[in-house]
Symmetry: C2
Subunit: 497 residues, 2 copies
């Protein structure tokens, strides 16, 4: 370790402590905090966020970071922390502190405004806040843009470095060209899949019990993690010994079940980060897309595979005897793979999911780079759903207000969801050459799969970019065809196309 | 507001944000965090605590605080914040930062060490840690002592300013002289009280449901608060819109029920703090003793009063029909007031409670000012229990390891528990002259009582010291006789003495 890096260490510790505190407040706010806590807690978070800003963005840290850039003898992990810090400094340097803090306060409140507006199905109640959020984000992207760089590319780069509009336009045009017709063929198919048995009046306790079992079966370690309930399922991590997932319980048993498998995929990523990286600036997943590749790999590619359920389907039947007692494994697996165009992204099946993201990509691009006005969102949203999915939402709760992300200021985030599925499909194609995935699943040997992913992906945290990880693992640059082929094969078979 | 005070405001905000973050981590650690999170989270807390230290203890803040001392036109609340800050500075100034941080890390770990040692009934596993905690606290008290001031008086002053060993020696000698013989008379009484129906195999869900009902009945506002489960019940507050209580569930229905009423008493205090004081250095209860006066007032003086249960006893019977269905209200009230000398302070009845505290006071005094060695604690502890309560603990889990407080570094804290009961009794004697407390209880008008306490106590936060509040409210300085008379009257009647 170099002398300058040694001097940076207490600064890194400050940053991580403040960041971890903010993460805990976010978790608490989403899972537990009382309704009226909002305003005062927002102020606390705003102040902590200002402190974080000062911890990164000060002359001493800037000087040390630049000195470290030239320092010899840094380990790979140390060099990566310095690189990440310099990126963070550049990002913060561009934004005046008051605006940064005001934005942090705004988004803390915006989440509550969105929650209420969604409950009350009232877009107008959220629109002025959303406009403010977008204005801030456009302004920030403008501050941060390199010469000639588009604002939306700045945003995209935050979640998926290396994937700009140019590449994404191509990616989504393939999706549009291939998946929209595939969905139409599926809908025209004579095959009828019964999934009525997935719906019922299940108690939260029933669902939680089997949910915990499945999380643990997939590999979630409750000695290092917590599972709770929130409006929208998510995963958060304080460090690699404290990773937390949430779910929500409703009338569809598959909804909470697969959300838990999904979040467990995220959690395994964070739990698998190396000890020397956790609680550093590079101690989390490489990118949103790489994260989604893991959650979607577990949820869809493994979790909706018949082989996955072979060892544990009887457990599920025992948990829900009235609904599943007489349902065969085959019928269950067909049901959880049924493609039904719907309004809600988080409830979407594997086939239609990418179309939900396609719509958000097109809208975000127009909001940031084009002329789309916030007030027109509900109508345009509905038009696109009608065009791509064949369904038109009747209300904003099931339309443009369904997602929390815009209220948090996350623009450029949604595309990573679809990229994650595509990464996962590419990994799966490669893994099948290396091991008999189905056999491992049938024998309940998920640890072999987990270890493989840990070795090739999880352990590195942010040491590598997502494209690099993908290339080193599969021997090939990102290639969307694997995803399209995977879907065509799976749904072709399921719907006898 | 003065110009210098205006300059201090962002510094106050930093302090409060860091303090609030540490409070949230403590809450999370006690109620939710996974087992293995400990070490890494400790480090985060240690860093935040160091940041808090820096936020208070720096040249700029010191200069501003002293300037504000002389500034004119400060409101009462502002002047109190400055006074509190100067006290805090004096306290921190005396302690080297490295030692302060090391101590914060030590106690974070010590709580876990204590938890494990208690589970395993192994005092030796905790003793070295306890020795370290005591050494730190003695060293810190030495740094902070004014000329001629005893170390234990420094510690006592942190929890109950104005109550030194001199006053407490007198207070506890009255307790020893009056309550030890009163307990012996109770034990010699021919009156037998049946409380067998309070024990049973209750589910957590049953207990939680009625617990939430009772908390709300007493006045806990779930829009501004949270109730959870922890090993040892406690109350914590982020601010007056987010106050949290915990309980634990076991085989005695009265244990969790009255712990909830107790913690609700604490919570009402914090919820009642004025809006202009919350999230400031004077935005919490005046002292530990004043806090305990509120929790004990609700738990014992109101909660174990027959009148309290008149409107809601039928609810309790419905919740536990097998146990309470055929038990009269009179029999229930007698049962929850039964005096039974036992090992566990937190499960102690109102009569024996102060004897548990007496023992801790005598031991702490000897540990800090005398020659008592940590290794001898289990034996001396048992000897004193035998002498004052007539019972000798057979193991350390039910003996010296029962309380969390020493592991947190809280010495000088226990006496406030007994003082709180005494404050409460003095308040009660006064309130009975002002209003018909029993009638209000019978009519379920707890809001009148709450409002009275809010007006005379809660709203002020730390604007006034406990002795001052007590004097202004009751027209009299602290007088322990009210407490002794209250107990004599109550238990004399109950046991026909």
């Amino acid at each position: 370790m170099g002398a300058k890096f040694e001097e940076l260490k207490p600064h890194f510790e400050r940053m991580m402590a403040l960041k971890t505190a903010m993460i805990l407040f976010e978790w608490d706010d989403a899972t537990l905090a009382p309704k009226e806590a909002g305003k005062l807690t927002e102020k606390v978070i705003g102040t902590l966020s200002g402190e974080y800003f000062c911890a990164v963005n000060n002359d001493k840290v800037r000087e040390l970071a630049h000195a470290c850039e030239k320092e010899e003898g840094l380990s790979e992990a140390e060099a990566a922390q310095v690189r990440e810090l310099l990126e963070e400094i550049a990002k913060l340097d561009a934004i005046p502190q008051e605006e940064y803090q005001a934005f942090a306060r705004l988004t803390a409140g915006a989440v509550r405004t969105w929650t209420k507006a969604k409950e009350e199905n009232d877009f107008d109640a959220f629109a002025p806040t959303l406009e403010k959020v977008i204005d801030y984000q456009k302004k920030f992207a403008g501050y941060r843009a390199k010469e000639g760089q588009k604002k939306y590319d700045v945003m995209l780069n935050d979640f998926e470095p290396g994937f700009s509009m140019e590449l994404l336009d191509t990616f989504f045009s393939v999706i549009k060209k291939e998946i929209v017709p595939l969905l139409k063929a599926v809908q025209a198919s004579h095959v009828e899949i019964d999934d009525s048995f997935l719906t019922g009046d299940f108690t939260d306790e029933q669902q939680e019990k089997i949910g915990r079992f499945v999380a643990e079966y997939v590999g979630f370690d409750f000695a290092k993690g917590v599972m709770a309930v929130s409006a929208h399922p998510f995963t958060t991590n304080l460090h690699n010994r404290d990773v937390r997932i949430t779910t929500h319980y409703g009338k569809n048993l598959d909804s909470s079940l697969f959300s838990i498998i999904h979040e467990t995929g995220h959690a395994l990523y964070e739990l698998g980060v190396r000890d020397d990286l956790t609680q550093t600036l590079v101690g989390e997943g490489a990118s949103m897309g790489m994260h989604e590749s893991q959650s979607r790999f577990f949820e869809n590619i493994l979790g909706r595979n018949k082989s996955f359920w072979v060892p544990i389907y009887s457990k599920l039947q025992e948990a829900f005897p009235e609904n599943l007692g007489k349902v065969s494994l085959d019928a269950f697996v067909r049901a959880v793979n049924k493609a039904t165009p719907g309004f809600i992204r988080t409830e979407a099946d594997e086939l239609t999911y990418s179309l939900h993201v396609l719509i958000r990509y097109e809208l975000e691009k127009e909001l940031i780079e084009g002329d789309l006005q916030v007030k027109d969102l509900p109508r345009i949203w509905a038009d696109k759903y009608e065009e791509y999915l064949g369904v038109r939402p009747e209300n904003v709760r099931e339309g443009v207000l369904q997602d929390i992300h815009w209220s948090q200021g996350s623009f450029g985030y949604f595309p990573s969801y679809a990229l994650g599925s595509a990464f996962g499909a590419q990994m799966y194609a490669h893994m099948k050459k290396e091991m008999d995935v189905d056999k491992l699943l049938e024998e309940g040997k998920l640890s072999v799969i987990r270890e493989y992913l840990r070795e090739h992906i999880h352990q590195y945290g942010k040491l590598k970019k997502s494209r690099e990880i993908l290339k080193e693992m599969t021997g090939e640059d990102f290639n969307a065809n694997y995803y399209v082929e995977y879907l065509k094969e799976k749904y072709g078979e399921l719907y006898a196309l």
